[in-house]
Symmetry: C2
Subunit: 333 residues, 2 copies
């Protein structure tokens, strides 16, 4: 069933049929309805590849999920799933398809693969990784792309992301308010977003008139396993005593909590804990986890909106999303 067949059935030309199907007012209303009716009856659907070829548009956005470079594993934060879900829904809502890739396989030249070879009209990148060169390579191209992460002023590309610095500040101020004085920071500041949270940490510590101890900043990957190991291997010794933990993801926080439990250290009394993300499980673990909530739904929607604006050649600015401190048991003394 092709457009030609429909045209034949409707006794019109291909051009008329084509226009009629897309409700072009150039075509007589009766003719339009006739053609549409016939198309419907025969369950005709426009061939996307042919249409894409002719129009030079794909109506597809590629979404790249940055993987953990070391482990080669998906950053399996439920957080990711949530934002992906929103993006998918928003894109379908605007008539776009979503092509999903991870950075794990093959160091694709994204520009060539997706844009030049016409697989997608634009790119949404989730996560900046550790200043990935692949992102920077895109800046000088005409590929429309948006990154979930932190705005980097020296680098000129559009980002959408949480106010990570504020998040770090809120988390640590809160811990300090609860009486914590030696707060471990679990995260890898090579990730731009994490770096911001670390700055927020420093802001809060400075504000309280305390001193930032570099020893308390412990490089930790985005997994529960790493959270557990960080505490085990680097903290709580006489050398580095702590009374609070700020983990840059809830997953990390859960791992840390686990270790504290095993050592019979009471939470929040001896050590208070706060995470980041507010994944749905945080409320439902025990003790429930205090955290900084990221507005993933708004983030996903915004990513898509800016992407579409960009495709329509509208001016587009990076956006900072507000975060919120959610106090739960793990930090309530």
């Amino acid at each position: 069933m092709t457009l030609a067949d429909i045209a034949l059935l409707a006794n019109v030309s291909k051009s008329t049929a084509s226009r009629a199907l897309r409700n072009n007012p150039l075509i007589n209303k009766n003719t339009r309805e006739l053609v549409q009716e016939i198309a419907l009856k025969h369950n005709f659907k426009v061939n996307a590849t042919a249409s894409n070829l002719r129009t030079q548009k794909t109506n597809t956005i590629a979404v790249v999920v940055m993987f953990d470079q070391k482990s080669g594993q998906a950053i399996s934060d439920p957080f990711l799933m949530e934002i992906l879900g929103t993006i998918a829904d928003e894109l379908t809502h605007f008539g776009y398809d979503m092509l999903l890739t991870t950075t794990k396989t093959a160091t694709h030249d994204w520009y060539s693969y997706y844009y030049e070879s016409k697989r997608a009209d634009g790119l949404i990148i989730i996560g900046q990784g550790e200043h990935d060169q692949r992102i920077e390579a895109l800046i000088s191209t005409d590929l429309p792309f948006i990154v979930w992460g932190t705005e980097i002023h020296e680098k000129n590309y559009t980002t959408v992301g949480s106010d990570n610095r504020k998040g770090g500040y809120l988390a640590v101020s809160h811990l300090i308010e609860q009486g914590c004085r030696r707060i471990a920071f679990l995260g890898d500041i090579n990730h731009t977003e994490v770096e911001q949270r670390w700055l927020g940490y420093q802001d809060a510590v400075a504000e309280a008139g305390l001193v930032v101890e570099d020893k308390l900043q412990i490089k930790t990957d985005f997994t529960s396993v790493d959270g557990y190991q960080s505490l085990r291997d680097h903290c709580l010794s006489d050398d580095v005593p702590i009374d609070g933990v700020f983990a840059v993801s809830d997953a990390i926080a859960l791992g840390a909590t686990k270790y504290l439990f095993e050592q019979n250290i009471t939470i929040p009394k001896q050590v208070a804990v706060i995470g980041f993300d507010d994944i749905s499980m945080s409320e439902y673990c025990s003790p429930s986890l205090s955290t900084i909530r990221q507005n993933t739904a708004a983030g996903g929607r915004l990513l898509v909106k800016l992407m579409l604006d960009k495709l329509n050649h509208l001016p587009v600015d990076s956006q900072l999303l507000n975060v919120e401190m959610i106090q739960r048991q793990s930090s309530s003394r």
Copy 2:
């Protein structure tokens, strides 16, 4: 930069250029290398839409993630993310792209939208939902599709999935072994997979010479919130005392655990708990969560392999993946 340009530069015809690029032995080796070199130098990439149109193949597989119909929310189990990640990687590995959708938006006619209109060569569906009609509608079409879920013998389509019945059996036998006698089942047996786990529950109970009490089967959706509420609203009263919980997902189990904690009910002593999935966090919550491990990596790989086999018109059979009981603190008395 099109094929024609390259051909011109290489002083050959388009056909020769096309063949040369794909290393067709019909073309002289020298010519091939010449063309490839030129293409490389000019960073030429074949236009996918044109190629797709001509070859009538898209080299794309659409993946549909079934959403929670009621909440309209993504089943945000990390479990999903893991399997999606594997699928994405496997597909890229075999040169396919992955189109992702959720069932939330628009009740697409998948056959028309993806297959007829040539957006994808095949469909992988994650989750059966509650006997979704959209799946059944595909059976009579020529669309190649595979479902992650349980084989349904009356329905004739290919599935890949865990041995859910065995999983249920293992979980419940284990609890019984630990001395549990009244085990709550948290899950919604309208989901085919959950139904299987319920059958496994019954198997184990029967084997132990106990009686299956329908009161103990509590309809619960796939979220922590629901796990929490199920226990709160339906169990632990004098009416329905329990000493064990089998939750059909780790997320549910975490919610349930939370409620037990709040009620000062000790785990595993007063109530032992076991979940399903073995998401990465299960090991790192406290108490660590016993669970039934699904082999998501194998599952993802198998889904893709069968899909490709199907595309190559090879015979394809549904596959059952083994599951494994992981004993942790929450059930170790």
